[in-house]
C-alpha cells in the first residue's frame, strides 16, 4: 500500500504554555471549543515515541513540525527530536524561545532541529512582552536567536501583525535581519483561541495591512530577507500582486501540502487553527482519516459572499478555520473578511475567460463540520 505523501505533519507535543499571548490561536483556549473535543492534560503525557512511530509508519513525510502550547516545557524534547531525526525527518520547532538557553539550543540543533520558528513582535520590549503576556519575553527571544546563530542553527521570525504592533514592523524586520533570521513570516493576526476574544482590539485594518505590506516589500529587497505572508489575505481586500517580492499562501487543506495536526492523544485535525477532529490514529488508519471524502466539506466550504468570485478556488475565502472557531460555521466569512466586507467585492473573471464557477462550490451549504468537530475523540493514547 502506498503511503500518503505529505509535505509536513504538525505535532502539538503539549497544550501547556508559559506565555499568555493575547493573539493566541490555540483552539483549546477558545470557550466555544468543547473540552472533550481536544486532548487536555494537566500533566505532560509521557512517552510520545509510540505515537510518532505509529503515525510516521503510515505516512510519507520528511518534515515534522513540533509545536504546542510551548514545546520547550517538555523536558524530553531533545529526546523527541533525536528520535525523529534518527528516522530521517527534518524538524521544525515552533517555540516562544523563553526557555531556549544556550546549552539547550546547542543540544536541540545537534539533535536535529533544522529550523526554529520564533515570534518577534516589536523592537519595543514593552510591546512584545504585552502581546506575549509574559514579562521578559522580548529579551528571551532575542537571546534565543543569538544562541541559535552561535550554534549554527537556522531560525525564521514570525511577526504577528496586530493593531498594537503593526507600526513596529520595519524596526522588527531590522532586528530579525541583525540577528541572522533566515526569513520572516508576516502573519496578520488570525483570530482563534484566546485571540478570538480580542478581534476588534487586535485585527488590523485593510489600510494598516496595506501599509505593512509596503514596508515588507521594501524591506525584503533592502535586507535580502525572504518575507512571506502566511495567513491568507483575500485578494478582494488587498491585491498581493502589488507586492511581488513577498511570498503568499492560501489554505492548503486537502492537498499534499496540507499540515495535518496531531495532539498527544492521536487526534488528527486539518490544521493547527482548526478544532475539527477528523479522527484518531489509534482507531483508524491515517490514510482513512485524511481521505478526500472526510475532508470534502472542509475543502469545499467558502462563504456565500465568495461564490461569484473568480479567485474563489485560490483564496477560499481566507482562513475557514478562523471562521469556524470565531463564528461556529465553516461557511461564515472569517473575521478579516467579515469586518472589512464593505471594502470587499467579488472579483470578476478575466475578460477573455469562459469562467464557470464549479458546480460543487455553487451549492450553498446544507451542513458544516460541526458534527465532526464534536465527535468525541480519545483522551488517552492507546498502545497496540
Amino acid at each position: 500500500m502506498i503511503k500518503p505523501h505529505l509535505s509536513t505533519l504538525i505535532f502539538e507535543v503539549t497544550q501547556a504554555c508559559d506565555h499568555a499571548c493575547i493573539y493566541c490561536y490555540n483552539t483549546w483556549r477558545h470557550p466555544n471549543v468543547r473540552p472533550d473535543t481536544m486532548e487536555r492534560t494537566a500533566t505532560l503525557p509521557t512517552d510520545l515515541r509510540p505515537l510518532f512511530t505509529h503515525v510516521l509508519d503510515q505516512v510519507d513525510c520528511s518534515l515534522v513540525t513540533l509545536t504546542g502550547g510551548e514545546p520547550l516545557l517538555r523536558p524530553d524534547l531533545p529526546e523527541i527530536v533525536r528520535f525523529l531525526a534518527d528516522r530521517g525527518k527534518r524538524i521544525n520547532l515552533i517555540t516562544n524561545g523563553h526557555r531556549l538557553t544556550d546549552s539547550l539550543a546547542a543540544e536541540l540543533i545537534r539533535a536535529g532541529v533544522t529550523l526554529f520558528e520564533l515570534p518577534l513582535l516589536s523592537h519595543h520590549r514593552e510591546t512584545h512582552d504585552r502581546l506575549s503576556g509574559a514579562p521578559g519575553a522580548f529579551d528571551a527571544v532575542l537571546a534565543a536567536l543569538a544562541h541559535i546563530r552561535t550554534h549554527r542553527g537556522q531560525a525564521v521570525v514570525v511577526f504577528v501583525a496586530t493593531r498594537h504592533n503593526i507600526a513596529d514592523l520595519y524596526p522588527a524586520l531590522k532586528l530579525a535581519f541583525a540577528f541572522g533570521a533566515r526569513g520572516v513570516m508576516l502573519n496578520r493576526f488570525n483570530p482563534g483561541g484566546r485571540g478570538a476574544a480580542h478581534i476588534e482590539e487586535l485585527l488590523p485594518t485593510v489600510e494598516q495591512m496595506r501599509g505593512a505590506l509596503a514596508v515588507a516589500e521594501a524591506a525584503t529587497q533592502e535586507f535580502g530577507l525572504p518575507i512571506s505572508c502566511s495567513i491568507p489575505i483575500q485578494p478582494c481586500l488587498i491585491d498581493l500582486d502589488d507586492y511581488p517580492h513577498l511570498g503568499r499562501g492560501y489554505c492548503a487543506a486537502g492537498s499534499s501540502r496540507a499540515y495535518y495536526t496531531l495532539d498527544t492523544a492521536g487526534n488528527v485535525r486539518p490544521c493547527n487553527h482548526s478544532p475539527t477532529v477528523l479522527g484518531n490514529v489509534w482507531e483508524e488508519p491515517f490514510a482513512d482519516i485524511i481521505a478526500p471524502s472526510r475532508l470534502a466539506d472542509f475543502v469545499a466550504a467558502v462563504p456565500p459572499f465568495c461564490v461569484p468570485c473568480a479567485r474563489r478556488d485560490e483564496c477560499q475565502g481566507g482562513c475557514k478555520a478562523a471562521a469556524q472557531v470565531c463564528y461556529g460555521d465553516l461557511y461564515a466569512e472569517e473575521p478579516f473578511l467579515h469586518l472589512n466586507s464593505p471594502l470587499a467585492h467579488p472579483l470578476p473573471p478575466p475578460p477573455t475567460s469562459n469562467f464557470q464557477p464549479p458546480i460543487s462550490n455553487l451549492q450553498l451549504p446544507t451542513s458544516n463540520l460541526q458534527g465532526a468537530q464534536y465527535a468525541k475523540p480519545r483522551t488517552e493514547p492507546t498502545r497496540r
Binding site: R110, A178, R182, M185, N187, G247, G249, S255
Partner: protein, 228 residues
Amino acid sequence: MGTTRREFMRDVGISIAALLAMRCTSCQPTCYTPVPPTPSGRGSEWDRLRQPWLDLDLLARDAQDSERGQATLDRLKAEHRAALDALVSAGQIEPAVADEMQIAFEGAAWHIWRANAPMTCYVPSIGPEYWVQGASNLARQADVLTEMASAADLDPNTVAEAQAAIEQDIAYLSLPEEEQQAIMERVMAEAGTGGEYPALWELDLEVSPESAEAARLLVDLLLGRQNE
C-alpha cells in the same frame, strides 16, 4: 574535450533541480510551515510541465525504495514528456526545444534518483552544513545590530553574543580556500564513519596568526572601522 550539447542540457537540469531543492529549505508561505504556496490548480499545460519538477522531492524520498523509486522516476519522465508534447501540439514551443527540455529534466531526475537510491557506489550522505552568509551581508548585519542595540535598548550580553557570531562567520569566510578545506577535512576526520559530525566550535582548530589578522582586518574593513 568540450561539453556536448546533451551534457550541457543535463547540467542545466541538475542546476535547476539544485535550485529547487534549495528553495525547499528557505522560508516559504503557508500558515506556520515554510513550504511553497498552494498550487492554484488552474491546470494549464505549463502547470503540468512544472509539476514534475516540483515533484523531484517526492522522487528523492521514493528513491530510497528501489522499486518505488524506479516507478516514480519513470512516471515523472513520462508526465514531463506528455506535458511537452501537449505544448508542442498547441504550437507553444518548438519540438526541438521540447526535446532539449526533456533531456534537462531526465538529467535532473536521474541525478536526484541516483543521489538518493540506496546504492553502494553512490551512498547518500549528508555533509556538515556550516552555513555562512556573504561577507557584505554580514557586515550590514553588524551595522544594523549596532544601530538597533541602542535604538531598542537591547540586552548588552545578547548583542555581544550576536556580534560574536557575525564576526565568527566573517572570520570563517576570510580564511583562504585551502584553510577552509583543511577545516572540512578535519571535520570529516573527527566524524569518522559514524555520521556524527562535531560542531565547528568543538574542533581544536589551528588558525594561523596571519589568518586571524586577516579576519580581523576584514571585519574592520567591512564595518568601516579601518580608519579609526
